[in-house]
Amino acid sequence: MADAFGNAIGQSIVGQMMATEGEKRTAQIASNLAQETQQANSQINSDFARSQQEFSDQIASQFDASVSRDLDQFAAQQTERSIIGAAEAGFNTPRIQALAIPTSVQAAINDAAALNITQTSGGFDFKSASMALRQQQDTAKRSAVQSAVESGNYSEAVRLASESLRANDPIGYALANQTQDAPSAVTRALGGLRLVGGAIDVGIGTALSATGVGAYVGVPLAAYGADQYVTGSRSLVTGLGADSAFVQAGEYAGLSPFAAQALELVTGLGLNVGGTAASAARVSSRTGTESLLDLSSVTDISPGLYRVDPTQLRFSQHVASPNFSSGGTISDLVAELRAGKSVDDVRGGPLRVIIEDGKAFSLDNRRLVAFNAARVESVPIQVLSRSDETVSTLLRNPTRFAPIAGEGQYIAIAPAAEQSAAWQLLRQNGLIR
């Protein structure tokens, strides 16, 4: 009896010892997992920060190059401006009220000021400006994607799943089935591909989300991309296979793992085909009135309606009155535009434009002055055929069709009484033909 009791006690102690041993091992595994998770998190955060910095540097470099080009242009224009100033003093000719300059430098300076960028001795700190701009864009994009996603139930579910995974377990390590799979380089590589594909889908989907019909594909595609991005990043870091939130949701809804994965594959293909089609539709719509035509990269343009950045247009006249013939002044229009008036509601219709030697000249100079002064981003234009009768009317009037220095980067704004003297002044100085 005593032996039996002693055996029972002994077994119990051995059992407890075994249990304690098991718990220790479990705790050790858990500790290891936590440590690895922390290291992986740290690595992914570091990689993300580095890629963000590289991207910011790239943007800053492009921005600096653009500003440098604009500054050169501005210097050339300032020289031209001094010539006019000297001539004005020397010839005692009329006072030109203002010299309107459609410069992007001015826009850049205004942008920097708007972003509270301080001026340094060498100029503006454009790198900081561009990074601040990037931050603004990121915030705006995030909020746009969020509101777009919130408007659709389908995408909302996927987004929430992704967000919760990111918040509680950024790399999904604890959810991975570590007992079934060993970390694999192949799985890691596939995870990397999945991450890249997801990022691309997010990019395309986000871009399409801003459009009308494209949003029907764009929003789910962005959400799908985000899910793939998160899942891919988990596999990339852990080297372990992982189910996306889409598959988990499918399984939760009663589908088998295989069926859920098949549905994910079909959905992904469908969304990507739809996204490609929607992107193609956007590209093809660039010939319509809603797309922005880059005049710096074209040599000739077919007659028709387009939208352009007004700073890319040139003035066809050397001088224009500050008053509109239909009433009001250029300053009035600038004030209205700054107060929120749409450029499409401005009287006169699209700016009429003629292309000569690859340069786009506006025939509606006063409105162009106002649009540039108000820093309007895009304006509707109608490119006229060079054989058009409207063009012949202007061509017969040299005083109406004489851009300064043949380039039309400037226009003098002078009242009617002083325009003929301005004409003489510019002609004497070889600035008009």
Binding site: E356, R386, S392, T393, S420
Partner: protein
């Protein structure tokens, strides 16, 4: 004062000289030589043109005729301006095309000899040659 957004060749029969106000963007007949103008380049004088092939056109010269001219044909203006060569050649091509003019190349119509058709005191008619080259 009579103001017109655009004039036709028939308007030159009533008045051989018209003033274009670049600010108002309108034409008015120049009745008196004392009318203040900003520049001679604001004046349009009735003229006739003859091509090297002997083809005659009616139209107007602007100012002294050294910068811009207008040819009236097929019920519309075709204009040539020395500073806007590409556009001017397309205007010339349209003139040839619309009028069914038989020339190998539209530029063969140049140079155009011109004679003003003012025929009114105190103006003095003059002649010249216009080319885009």
């Amino acid at each position: 004062m009579l103001l017109k957004k655009e004039i036709s060749i028939g308007d030159f029969d009533g008045c051989p000289v018209w003033h274009f106000d670049p600010d108002l963007e309108q034409f008015s007949p120049l009745i008196s030589i004392d009318t203040p103008i900003g520049s001679i380049d604001e004046l349009h004088f009735h003229a006739k043109f003859v091509s090297p092939q002997g083809i005659e056109f009616r139209g107007s010269v602007t100012g002294q005729g050294d910068t811009a001219i207008g040819i009236w044909s097929n019920g519309r203006w075709y204009a040539l301006h020395k500073g806007w060569k590409q556009t001017s050649f397309e205007q010339l091509s349209a003139l040839v095309r619309d009028g069914g003019i038989q020339v190998d190349n539209p530029s063969k119509l140049l140079p155009l000899k011109f004679m003003t058709l003012i025929n009114r005191e105190p103006y003095v008619d003059w002649s010249g040659e216009f080319d885009l080259g």
